[in-house]
Symmetry: C2
Subunit: 128 residues, 2 copies
Amino acid sequence: MSDAWLDEIKWTAEGLVPVIAQETGTGKVLMFAWMNRDALRLTQQNGHMVYWSRSRGKLWHKGEESGNQQVVKQLRLDCDNDVILAEVEQKGGIACHTGRHNCFFQRLEGGRWVTVEPVIKDPKEIYR
Amino acid sequence: MSDAWLDEIKWTAEGLVPVIAQETGTGKVLMFAWMNRDALRLTQQNGHMVYWSRSRGKLWHKGEESGNQQVVKQLRLDCDNDVILAEVEQKGGIACHTGRHNCFFQRLEGGRWVTVEPVIKDPKEIYR
């Protein structure tokens, strides 16, 4: 497969593109992260999400430690060619490193961010 | 209301936070944009989405030209306090400046980005 589809993406100055992972079926937004060109190519080739970890400065095969891989169902690109929306199947039902289903578990209520989603599995049990 | 909830957000070096707008009911991801502190405060105060336009360098009251406002249903914050997920009601059923329901209308199919969503209203009719 040619890389023309990768060339169409408007990468940031750092060579990244923001990525939204949305769960197939439920439609819940699981997480937000970044990919570089290699990460997106590998994601397409391997069929599971590979991000670029800005904090660690390296490729991050989602689930490499936790086993909670994200299987790619489809990849979408926005009108400006600078944001990716990925529909994924979340293995293990846990996307967040806190052990919750997804990362958006704080809701603004009465001027405070309130945690409204339960921890499904203790992170100490996930990352041994 | 105190601004403490705004202080909890980890703004980028440019003072921004990425924002995902998701449609209430359908769960569809409508668009991705950025807010600064003023935009997020106004969004909370007024109950409709106000973004920061990086290209125009000013506040962008979504729907100010098109009428297609986004009414805020709830605001969520992620585990790292650096991404906002907004559940919104999309007035007019059109979030994208191309006249489509949402911005993620290109799907990767056989190594090409293919437009898979229809234009609901000609942009020339939206932005007069």
